[in-house]
């Protein structure tokens, strides 16, 4: 168990070290997210009532696009210099590779969300005073499910010769339950929204862990 956790930590640390030295993903993705929020803000930001109600969905548009870009880029680093072949030759379970990628993607997404979310909350005047921690928890749980799906399909797509942009197309319809459940949970807390989010995470973490070894090809 500790050995597996160690392997996951080593893999995630490798990805984060690459990101720390090149800084190629985070800056791009954060700016993209802020741009999306401001583009939509010009449309509906002038109407306060509409803006406050629409804010969770607008945040999700930003999360979705920046997340897909983020997953694509972290997987693309494995395409260079045959890094993926080396990774596949390593004497570890393929599920561990998945978990490592998931961990680094999740950390990057948390970093992105930590910038985008306050921007969205400020721009659209969301009132979070009722349950600020609940809001953060809902977003965090949703991010886990989003990253679970995104990491699996980034691996699948990067191993297949495909036109760019297809990852967004695959991931968006699959994560619609997350978007609906989390926006509804933020707008009207209570109900089964949280249960759906947790079920989504559990189902797709398990399924992806099992399926991932069939997905990667150098």
């Amino acid at each position: 168990m500790t050995a597996t956790l160690n392997q996951i930590a080593v893999l995630a640390a490798k990805d984060l070290r690459i990101e720390g030295r090149t800084r190629s993903t985070l800056g791009l993705v954060v700016v993209l997210g802020v741009l999306i929020i401001s583009v939509l803000g010009f449309g509906i930001g002038t109407q306060p009532q509409l803006a406050a109600l629409g804010a969770p969905s607008i945040l999700w548009v930003a999360y979705l696009f920046s997340g897909v870009l983020c997953f694509e880029k972290t997987m693309a680093t494995e395409r260079q210099d045959g890094a993926l072949a080396g990774l596949l030759l390593a004497p570890i379970d393929r599920g561990v590779i998945y978990a490592g990628k998931l961990a680094s993607n999740l950390i990057l997404m948390f970093a992105v969300a930590a910038v985008i979310t306050p921007v969205g909350v400020l721009f659209f005047g969301m009132d979070l005073s009722a349950a600020p921690l609940g809001f953060v928890a809902v977003i965090a749980i949703s991010m886990l499910g989003f990253a679970a799906i995104g990491t699996l399909f980034a691996g699948l797509m990067s191993s297949s010769r495909l036109q760019g942009g297809l990852l967004a197309m695959v991931v968006f319809p699959l994560v619609l339950p997350l978007v609906i459940a989390s926006t509804q949970q933020v707008l009207s807390p209570g109900g089964t929204g949280l249960a759906i989010l947790v079920a989504f995470d559990a189902i797709f973490l398990t399924a992806s862990w099992i399926v991932f070894e069939l997905v990667l090809e150098p």
Partner: protein
């Protein structure tokens, strides 16, 4: 027995059953009565088409799922062809569900589309899921890789269906459809209408499956029902 005759017989029975059910719906089944104002609800008869098509959509999705799992386990191409056939038919059927659902929404609430109806929203999200399956499939190079991508996507999409359904129910449900208890004759019509529509759905899956096999240059494989196989003259040369 001649395959062509079996195939003709199958589709003739399906067509006759369809015509028979149409007759039942139009001439025999009574109108449902709105409990609120006591008037007949004419558009309620969409149900006899709408519900069987919806159930068969799930059937086709299950075929796609089973085909994908089978391919991941066995790595035989016919599983992949089956999955592709299931996905294609599920998109066609789901389009039928959406169109009849929209007609129903127009009749019941006087709008063509509403996000407030969880079932309509659910059908739309299901349609999106499987349309994306077809598009992703067609844009992957290499038949082996295409099969893997399709199988993994089909698996994840199938697991997604219950979550999509549950999350659609979270949307505020402003329009409550009137609760109508079906009389015995209505139930009979509903049950009867499952026969032709399930036959048509299964027939389409088999036709698509056979088409994919032939495109691959193979006609051998399980589930090539005798009545639905290619004629020997067309299949003899392909290897």
């Amino acid at each position: 027995m001649n395959r062509k005759i079996l195939s003709c017989a199958y589709w003739t029975v399906a067509a006759l059953a369809f015509a028979g059910v149409m007759g039942l719906i139009y001439f025999w089944t009574p109108f449902a009565i709105d409990p609120n104002d006591g008037k007949p609800i004419i558009f309620q008869k969409i149900l006899y088409f709408h519900l069987p098509v919806a159930i068969n959509t799930f059937l086709a999705c299950t075929v796609c799922f089973a085909g994908g799992i089978g391919y991941l386990v066995n790595r035989q191409t016919w599983w992949d062809d089956l999955a592709a056939a299931g996905a294609k038919v599920s998109v066609v059927l789901c389009t039928g569900v959406l169109l009849t659902g929209m007609l129903w929404a127009k009749g019941a609430w006087n709008v063509w589309w509403t996000w407030y109806s969880p079932r309509l929203t659910f059908s739309f999200m299901l349609w999106l899921l499987y349309v994306v399956y077809l598009i992703v499939r067609s844009s992957v190079e290499g038949s082996q890789r295409r099969a893997v991508v399709g199988a993994v996507y089909g698996l994840i999409a199938f697991l997604d269906i219950p979550l999509v359904y549950l999350s659609a129910r979270l949307l505020p449900d402003q329009f409550h459809p009137a609760d109508i208890t079906l009389s015995p004759s209505m139930k009979l019509t509903l049950a009867a209408s499952f026969v032709p529509i399930t036959m048509i759905a299964l027939g389409l899956v088999f036709l698509q499956y056979r088409l994919h096999r032939v495109q691959r240059g193979e006609v051998v494989g399980p589930l090539t029902l005798p009545g639905l196989g290619m004629r020997p003259s067309l299949t003899g040369g392909a290897a």
